[in-house]
């Protein structure tokens, strides 16, 4: 997988320039930084595979992260597990709204979720106003999820890996998971085939929302403050991570493992540019080049295949 090669190369080169890059603390920071983006990219990949997209994930994440603060303010003694359930339910509900609109209105998901992105963000802004919740307001055990490690891995990173594994198995080895690929590969053929396209697309958006909700809960654990603007602009990073990780925006192609690696790559680039003292501006430019490279590679293979098809058809005559 090219993205894995790029990631290893990036880490090795950075380490050669600055040997502090792979110190224990630095590795832990790398993982913590990547965790939330990995979950979001996993969620987004599920939707992208069906030839849809969800641009409202930043707003959903903000909404859920802010709810975490509000929840602990109202119920400081509640067990930490409850907030995970609440966060995923809220995220799943918002995702289902997207899914329902996309399947019923038959308008491209790009437009629908652009709309819900503003709508969700607007609701959050009205609700939050200028209020912010700080990590100190939450129960200490909640904050510790982002500090303590098991076998050297932060707990929230373990959660992310578990989620990635479950979704990866579901997409590769469960019938509904395979249906998602079929739908993204050719929606008309899927309908002709008798696949329940609408139900599956609704499922994909709901799953994306629920996983984004999980990421929102972890965001509240990991970062110091959450407010009306939490998660703004994140949706583009997420789509970028998935695309760099080999998930085709045109659907039917890619894996969540790839999307996860794409997320790790993007978040590691930031760290390694800091470690090698490169101007921060270059980070965005390099991400841009990576996306273009991913798209070009994708396109070139597609054209090659198409040419092969035409030649083989001509030969049949």
């Amino acid at each position: 997988m090219p993205v894995a090669v790029a990631l290893v190369t990036l880490i090795v080169v950075t380490w050669l320039i600055n040997d502090q890059f792979l110190s224990a603390q630095s590795v832990k920071d790398l993982m913590l930084n990547a965790t939330i983006l990995v979950i979001l990219a996993t969620a987004q990949a599920v939707v992208l595979i069906t030839r849809n997209v969800d641009l409202s994930v930043g707003a959903i994440l903000g909404m859920v992260a802010f709810s975490v603060g509000a929840f602990f303010e109202a119920a400081p003694q509640a067990p930490v597990a409850v907030i995970f359930v609440v966060g995923m339910l809220l995220g799943g509900l918002l995702g289902a709204v997207n899914g329902a609109l996309v399947t019923v209105a038959k308008v491209p998901a790009l437009v629908i979720t652009l709309g819900t992105m503003y709508a969700f963000r607007g609701i959050l802004s009205t609700w939050a106003g200028s209020k912010q919740y700080f990590s100190g307001d939450n129960p200490a055990s909640f904050g510790r999820l982002s500090v303590e490690t098991v076998l050297g891995l932060p707990i929230i990173t373990l959660i992310a890996l578990a989620v990635l594994a479950v979704v990866a198995v579901y997409l590769a080895f469960r019938r509904p998971g395979r249906d998602l690929y079929a739908i993204g590969s050719d929606p008309d053929a899927a309908k002709l085939f008798g696949i329940r396209v609408q139900a599956r697309v609704l499922l994909a958006f709901t799953a994306c929302g629920a996983l984004t909700g999980l990421a929102g809960v972890l965001y509240a654990s990991r970062y110091n403050s959450v407010g009306a603007l939490t998660g703004s602009g994140l949706e583009l990073d997420v789509v970028a991570a998935a695309v760099v990780g080999g998930v085709a925006i045109s659907g039917g192609v890619g894996t969540v493992v790839g999307a996860g690696l794409g997320a790790v790559l993007l978040s590691t680039i930031t760290s390694s540019l800091t470690a090698t003292r490169v101007d921060k501006f270059w980070q965005q430019a390099i991400v841009g080049v990576l996306i273009l490279a991913a798209v070009v590679v994708d396109r070139v293979t597609a054209i090659r295949r198409a040419n092969k098809l035409r030649v083989s058809e001509a030969r049949d005559d």
Binding site: V169, R175, R178, S185, A189, G194, I195, R196, L309, R315
Partner: protein
Amino acid sequence: MAAAAPADATLVLRDVAKSFGAVAALRSGSLVVESGSIHALIGENGAGKSTMVKIIAGLYRRDSGVFRLDGEEVDFTSTADSKAAGVAVIYQEPTLFPDLTVAENIFVGRQPLSRLGLIDRRRMREEARELFARLGVPIDPDRLAEGLSIADQQIIEIAKAISLDARLLVMDEPTAALSGVEVERLFGVARSLRDRGAGIVFISHRFEEVFDLCDTLTVMRDGAYVSTHRTDEVTVDQIVKEMVGRSIEALFPKEVAPIGEAVLEVEGLERGGVFHDISFQVRSGEIVALAGLVGAGRSEVARAVFGVDAYDSGSVRMNGADVAPRSPQAAIAAGMAFVPEDRRKQGLVMELSVARNLTLTLRSQVSRFGLINNRAEARAADDWSRRLQVKTGSPQHAAATMSGGNQQKVVLAKWLATDPTLLIVDEPTRGIDIGTKSEVHRLLSDLAGRGVAIVMISSELPEVLGMADRVLVMHEGRITAELSRAEATPERVMHAATASTEETVA
């Protein structure tokens, strides 16, 4: 007049009707397929065969009529329903998922599972391999479906149908893209399915295949049932007569016009896998019809001549001068006009007003200083709608609000305003009611009378026979016959279109 239904019939359709808005796609379709038999369904394009297939597949719901499977009344609302009831359909166009493996394409939705409830890929692969072994084709189950030849894709569709163990298998022109060996292989499979008690519906335009494979056949015409025969009790001529039996006089015939110099000369036009060695001439005042079945390559030739699509070799000349390939602008400059088949998508801007659509090709005439003059536009639009008798609420209404016939007139007007010397029309009256049809015909006839050379692509035999001075018949990418008006009979055109016999002319 429907056929009698014996008790052991797998499929019974009686007086089934289906309309889309005002257009009746199927008026009264009847079909009885007994178990353990292969039944051919034949008829011209537009006879209603495909609509019937889609009703059987659960893609459409019938408006009325009887639909029984194994004696049970059924009403499918989706293709999943029909599949669950044991119906497998192989469509003309393979419908595979290009990004999935071959094995998965066969088993989507019913992949073999392991004890853990996960997909057992190894078993899926082995089952696919067994299917291919049975079919005698070496296709790798692990390769992606993308890039497979049409024939291989069709084989996968067949493997899919076999693995479903269907009691009713419908094949909608499955052989159109297959070579002789592959057709034989397909027939072998179909016969073995029949011998195991399945009912099979076979749609094909190739009569020799129908007679080779099928036990019985049903003829359809104009959306209705005509007759059912045992294949050993009927001849090709008889069937052809039943397929086309329809009066041509009811339609507007072309008036005699003086025929002049050659306007369009096409020489050895070739595009790999699409059409081959296409040469013909069209003279001024002449209507040349391109007849043939859907998929014979007629529209593709027209698009190549007009420069929309590229061609590999050959030449196109207008009035003796070469026309640059791949350039509609060059074609228009040389005097060509092209009215495409799908006027909603390619001929009109549906959201724009009728007037705007009419004057789209007249921009320079109705504008001053590079800006469109509204009054000049309205005047030009008025003039043309009057000349073609376009009936519309107001020229300011969106084009989408007009009837199909009037839309077609607007498309024609749009091009006539450019004063072309050659007009290419693709299915000029498809989806247009009978009354407006003859108006479109009168218009084409008028144009020919004024010296315009016309190439008309049409799948409707009466239209071809009534309008054309000369008929070129295409079959599978080649011109198989050139018939003068006097020579062109329904039977001869049909024979050449299906390339069924001796009638073919080099």
